[in-house]
């Protein structure tokens, strides 16, 4: 029930925000939707209601409406709700606000739905809904180059889902159901797992995105509205990573262990590539995009490695990057408001005029890079340790990233905040502080108690000690 509620809530608020009396209140309402989802996600598994629903949808085709908000999905739901609330609260004035905020709420519902869906076709429904809405938002509310960005997002998504459909169709024929609980109870024989594992992973590689597929993400960050870019780069990437862990590793462990080296190699190189390219960006939106790309690849290294530590690390990395990336994007928006453009060429010396902004941004960037104490540090460590068990070379490549990240961090901070002041602008307003500061505190808290996240990875995702039959 709670799983259905967590999907229905943002949808209901989307409908409410379309009503005329609330025309000027849509942004607060949308923030409330995000916070409510975060609270429901956080408390959901503890509430005394039935956790899962399994109802028929089209039994002849093997489709069912199966949703469950377990502890693993709940942390992702809570993080996504929080990210959503934070970025919408920081957003600027926008035209056709009612439609925009209603669509954003639907996008949130779709992302949350993808986390709680237990039926593979239902997951596809929410997945494609999220991508279609994101493309629509980019094409209608984006900046220069928005229609190109929207088309790229959609085409990438469609290619991914075409591969996904082939897998679920084969599973439906082989097992008569797409309910992942049923599929887990009757796993495919080890020899037949490789092909579905590869196809399914390939479907998620394009949307994570892993190395050669990043262009849609970059374009979405540059041309799309900030909220949508972040929901794609943080929310949708988390969905893809969650699906890799829950579906690829969870349903086809043997197939994944055969295919893992190739995927780990791609993700490891992608991590390094993203960090290096980020150090050469003047456009802060492109910088954020490459940071998002680099961090999701790092998380993917942990997920693809298939080791217990790696999977726990990937989960932590995904949550950590969602929170910190949101703080970064909001901080970049604050810089852009003060210097007139989201570009390092136009910023400079902001530390003198806006010390609080400089402090918070510095902490954000350092936390993203992974200074000890931040959630990213714990995540990086776990991913490295997990990858080292099976892929020492990949772990070595990923370790270089720490240096590459230090370069983009130092360069960005120096160009934006130090040197001769180019822009004279006020310091952070209380609302901007109130958005960034809690996110940073949350990251530090997770960094201190990483087990609050890593212990929630369920046993059915982790590699079994005994070989399954």
């Amino acid at each position: 029930m709670i799983a259905t509620a967590v999907i229905a809530l943002p949808l209901a608020l989307a409908v409410v925000s379309l009503l005329p009396p609330l025309a000027r209140r849509t942004r607060p309402l949308t923030v409330v939707a995000g916070l409510a989802v975060a609270v429901l996600g956080f408390t959901g598994p503890m509430l005394p209601v039935r956790a899962s629903v399994h109802a028929p949808w089209a039994p002849i085709l093997g489709l069912s409406y199966a949703v469950e908000l377990d502890a693993f999905a709940a942390i992702f739901v809570a993080a996504t709700g929080l990210v959503f609330a934070a970025v919408v609260a920081s957003s600027d004035r926008i035209g056709h606000a009612r439609a925009y905020h209603a669509l954003l709420s639907v996008l949130l519902a779709a992302l949350v739905g993808a986390f709680v869906a237990r039926d593979l076709a239902l997951f596809l429904l929410f997945w494609e809904l999220a991508l279609a809405i994101a493309a629509l938002l980019i094409s209608q509310w984006g900046g220069v180059g928005r229609s190109d960005a929207a088309v790229r997002v959609l085409v990438t998504a469609l290619v991914g889902s075409a591969l996904y459909i082939v897998v679920i169709v084969s599973l439906a024929v082989a097992r008569g159901s797409l309910d992942s609980d049923v599929l887990r109870a009757r796993p495919l024989p080890a020899s037949a797992q490789l092909l579905p594992a590869v196809l399914l992973c390939a479907a998620f590689l394009v949307t994570l995105p892993v190395l050669p597929f990043q262009s849609w993400l970059i374009r979405a960050f540059v041309a799309g509205p900030r909220e949508v870019a972040l929901l794609l780069g943080a929310g949708l990437s988390s969905v893809a990573l969650y699906a890799v862990m829950r579906l690829c590793v969870g349903l086809f462990p043997q197939g994944m262990s055969v295919a893992a080296p190739a995927f780990v190699a791609l993700a490891a190189v992608g991590t390094l590539y993203g960090a290096v390219i980020a150090s050469r960006q003047d456009d802060l939106r492109r910088l954020a995009a490459f940071v998002a790309f680099s961090t999701i690849n790092l998380a993917a290294v942990g997920a693809f490695s298939g080791t217990e530590v790696g999977l726990r690390g990937a989960t932590l990395a995904a949550i950590s990057r969602e929170i910190l990336l949101t703080a970064l994007v909001v901080a970049i928006a604050c810089v852009a408001r003060r210097s007139g453009a989201a570009s390092l060429a136009r910023a400079g010396g902001l530390a003198t005029s806006s010390p609080r902004l400089a402090t918070l941004t510095t902490v954000t960037v350092l936390a993203l890079v992974g200074i000890p104490g931040s959630s990213a540090f714990a995540a990086d460590y776990l991913v490295l340790a997990g990858a080292y068990e099976r892929f020492p070379t990949a772990a070595a490549v990923v370790a270089i990233v720490i240096i590459a990240s230090a370069i983009w961090a130092a360069r960005t901070l120096r160009r934006a905040f130090h040197g001769p002041p180019l822009a004279h602008a006020g310091d952070l307003r209380w609302r901007e502080t109130a958005i960034i500061l809690p996110l940073l505190l949350l990251s530090l808290a997770i960094g201190v108690v990483p087990r609050s996240i890593t212990d929630r990875v369920p046993a059915d995702v982790l590699p079994a000690l005994e070989a399954p039959r």
């Binding site: 089209a58 085709l61 929207a150 088309v151 959609l154 469609l158 075409a162």
Partner: protein, 435 residues
């Protein structure tokens, strides 16, 4: 054969009577523009009603005309689709076009009911000749397809010594094989290649929709009849041929649709790709009845709806002309977008369920390669559909849609989503469709 069977041909007779009335009225009274199309819609709906009242029963004329579940479903589907196609251009369609389409539709119903090569050839001829009279450019292909069917049917009848479709599985002679090849080629052309290029004085979308939906359904229905008859044949592996044809038509039609710049042509070529999808369902042989029926019903709904909406933009010759339509007419674009996304097979729509159903059938028939090709090619046609939608969403000063949005179009969009969310009832209806 006995005269008592005649009353059971009411659907065909109603259509022909409708055509006669339309022609007579046009000659004698010269009434308002919408009288003829309205009579056309009424007689097509009456034919659908008559077919569903007649229901399932004993075969007519010694098995030459079947009255099984497939006949019932496809007669109702073709007649209803014809009615919807005529309703698209209710104020614009010329009486002559209405009459010709009604005659053509009676041929389509004969085709899907045929249990005999002669009846099949007759049906194809009756369906195709009016189209040839209607069109100017596609005439040669249209008539050629019918010619292939007729010649193939004659060859087969000579080779087997019987004109019954059930005698096909013993074909072994070269003459018989050649005849079968010609027959299949002709039917494939009707199902896939015949393209909607109407050149009626006023372009209304009616003949577009009719050719894109009814003719394809009839062609695929005939292929299923022949396929069911061949199912036990050990001589010819017709399934492999159909699989290859399906793969090629899905890929080629999607690519061609991608290259088009006119919204109507994109939809037209994408409908060929959809026919290829339906052909994927045929490869599973006997079991394909329910899947093909579901897919074609979904296809008819979505295509007629989308073509009806596009027909409201008669001057939109290129995609660029659609710019700005979304800002001025959001509801119009909402309905069109819903139908286009459904055609592209995105969930939760009837198109998604239909796609899944077809692919599951192909995988179940050990044709995973075909499922993979079809799934990937569907990305191409999806992009083609989405180009129309994105053109509408773009900024600019394009054409203005004609008239208000109609109940038919809203209904099509709503049903396309509702039937995707709750596919149970339609799935239940098609489970009995057997050839």
């Amino acid at each position: 054969m006995n005269g008592a069977d005649l009353p059971l041909l009411v659907p065909e007779l109603v259509l022909l009577a409708g055509a006669a009335v339309v022609t007579a009225i046009d000659r004698i009274w010269r009434t308002d523009a919408f009288v003829a199309p309205l009579i056309g819609v009424a007689s097509a709906l009456a034919a659908a009603a008559a077919a569903s009242v007649a229901g399932i029963g004993h075969d007519l004329f010694g098995g030459a005309v079947r009255r099984d579940s497939a006949t019932l479903f496809f007669s109702v589907l073709t007649a209803t689709s014809t009615a919807a196609a005529l309703a698209i251009g209710v104020r614009q369609v010329a009486p002559r076009t209405v009459a010709l389409l009604l005659v053509s539709c009676s041929g389509a119903i004969v085709i899907v009911a045929s249990g005999d090569l002669g009846v099949l050839a007759l049906g194809v001829t009756v369906m195709v000749l009016p189209l040839a009279l209607l069109e100017s450019r596609g005439r040669l292909i249209t008539l050629g397809a019918a010619g292939l069917v007729v010649v193939g049917a004659i060859d087969l009848a000579l080779a087997t010594g019987s004109s019954s479709l059930s005698a096909l599985d013993v074909v072994a002679t070269p003459l018989g094989s050649a005849g079968l090849a010609l027959l299949l080629a002709g039917l494939v052309m009707i199902a896939g290649v015949v393209s909607p290029r109407s050149h009626a004085p006023v372009d209304t979308g009616t003949s577009d929709a009719y050719v894109a939906v009814v003719v394809r359904i009839a062609g695929l229905g005939a292929l299923m009849r022949v396929g069911a008859a061949l199912a036990s044949s050990a001589v010819i592996d017709w399934r492999a041929s159909i699989a290859v044809i399906a793969a090629v038509s899905v890929i080629v039609a999607s690519l061609v649709a991608l290259g088009q710049t006119s919204p109507r042509r994109i939809l037209a070529y994408a409908s060929i790709a959809q026919a290829g999808y339906a052909a994927v369902a045929l490869t599973a042989g006997f079991a394909s009845g329910p899947t093909a029926a579901f897919f074609l019903a979904a296809f008819a709904l979505m295509t007629v709806g989308a073509l009806a909406l596009i027909a409201r933009l008669p001057s939109a010759a290129r995609l660029g002309d659609l710019r700005g339509v979304a800002r001025r007419r959001p509801l119009f674009v909402l309905a069109l977008g819903t139908l286009l996304l459904a055609l592209a097979g995105l969930p939760p729509s009837i198109g998604f369920v239909a796609k899944l159903y077809v692919l599951e059938l192909a995988v179940g028939a050990q044709l995973a390669w075909l499922a993979l090709i079809a799934a990937l090619a569907s990305v191409l046609s999806a992009v083609a559909y989405l180009r129309i939608l994105f053109a509408c969403l773009g900024e600019g000063d394009g054409v203005r849609p004609r008239g208000r949005i109609d109940a038919i179009e809203v209904l099509a969009a709503v049903v396309a989503v509702a039937a995707g969310l709750v596919p149970g009832p339609l799935l239940g209806v098609v489970q009995n469709v057997r050839f």
